[in-house]
């Protein structure tokens, strides 16, 4: 790795440009950016747009590594442009390209539609058998801190798509459900409030499901939120195999904590606002 420098310098950005409506293939363009310590790649791209080429397209929103919009390939590694400082990864040249394994909408904007479609296909929400309780809740579902810990790290996913762009399996099999959606399915499967295992196993155990994963581990390597998708996929394989062998342990379900009785509401705490949608 290049030695990190701590002073102002000029960095050459090699940016892969591509407009599917006009270009037959992507082409590389060079821009020189005056970089100060602390500048992120997103800052550098903004500077290019403001001072050199306003036609450069990129997607961003929060600028603090939360929204997952600005995922791109920086010096060959899928990264978030907003939380990668330029001088941390280069001293001279920085290559910037759209995320691999996704179609390009324009320049640095990948089409994340497959990510969201695959995500939705795994029912990434609490699925319960007791419809009455869901419609007319009598209390909250109790969950211990230990039960929360089993899935907590997987809730940190921001759906930036970096894991999927780093996945060698997805590179050859576009239908592979992938390292974003599969860990999210696991996240809900191990949630003690959830009853959706039988619903999800048909999807995650399909031809393009968890068993296509080679455990290359690149998804975990590039995740900007420290999630370990590769681990979730391996744990999901174990769950499916144990279920097939009828050895899956029966998990204690969250019980409902009834509403407190005999207590008065603290006046400073406001009532919940009325429903915005008519209740059936």
């Amino acid at each position: 790795m290049a030695k990190k420098i701590h002073k102002e310098t000029d960095i050459v950005f090699h940016i892969r440009r591509y407009n599917p409506e006009l270009d037959s293939k992507p082409l590389w363009k060079k821009y020189t950016v005056h970089v100060e310590p602390g500048m992120t790649v997103l800052d550098g791209l903004h500077q290019i747009r403001e001072t050199q080429d306003a036609s450069l397209s990129l997607r961003y929103s929060c600028r603090m590594g939360v929204c997952g919009s600005c995922g791109m390939l920086l010096n060959g590694r899928p990264s978030l442009a907003c939380n990668t400082q330029i001088l941390d990864i280069t001293t001279k040249v920085l290559t910037v390209a759209s995320l691999p394994n996704f179609d390009i909408i324009k320049d640095l904007v990948p089409d994340l539609t497959p990510l969201f479609e695959k995500h939705i296909s795994t029912s990434p929400h609490i699925v319960r058998n007791d419809a009455d309780e869901m419609l007319n809740p009598t209390g909250e579902f109790y969950q211990t801190p230990e039960e929360l810990t089993r899935y907590l790290q997987f809730t940190y996913c921001i759906k930036c798509g970096l894991c999927m762009s780093a996945c060698p399996t997805l590179a050859t099999d576009p239908e592979y459900i992938g390292s974003q959606a599969l860990p999210q399915a696991y996240r809900y499967n191990v949630d003690t409030r959830d009853d959706g295992f039988n619903l999800r196993k048909k999807i995650v155990g399909s031809t393009h499901g968890v068993f296509r994963c080679h455990y290359a581990g690149e998804c975990s390597n590039v995740c900007p939120k420290g999630v370990d998708p590769a681990r979730a996929i391996q744990l999901m394989k174990r769950e499916l195999v144990l279920d097939y062998l009828k050895l899956k342990k029966h998990r204690a379900k969250s019980h409902i904590c009834s509403k407190p009785e005999g207590v008065e509401r603290i006046p400073e705490i406001p009532e919940a606002p009325p429903f915005t949608v008519e209740q059936k």
Binding site: P174, K201, G205, F211, R212, V241, L245
Partner: protein, 124 residues
Amino acid sequence: MRETKYWTWHMFAGVIILILLGIHMITMHLSTLLGWFNPAGGDAIGWDNLLARATLFIYAVVYIVLLGAALYHGLYGFRTILFELGLKKGAQKFINILFIAAGICLFAFGTWAATKFYIIAQGA
């Protein structure tokens, strides 16, 4: 669930191969130390030792089980590689049928050979 079933048996086949290949390695390469299945001693591929092993029923069973496990494990792995090439549903179905047919044929031929070898050894 079909893929879960295939994967589970793939894992089982892997464990069986590990155990049986371990026995094979010990028999062939640690003969002078342990003498497993080499009653005549000395070289593991000497005629006396070979004949002694061939007359053992358990060894014929081991051959057949190892053949089945290796065929299943190998063909499943090959199928996985082919599926990652982004094949269409029809091609996937064709590969499934082809591999099942090839697996059964090879297993039948190998079983016949192992059984025949055992029977011949009994008369030797």
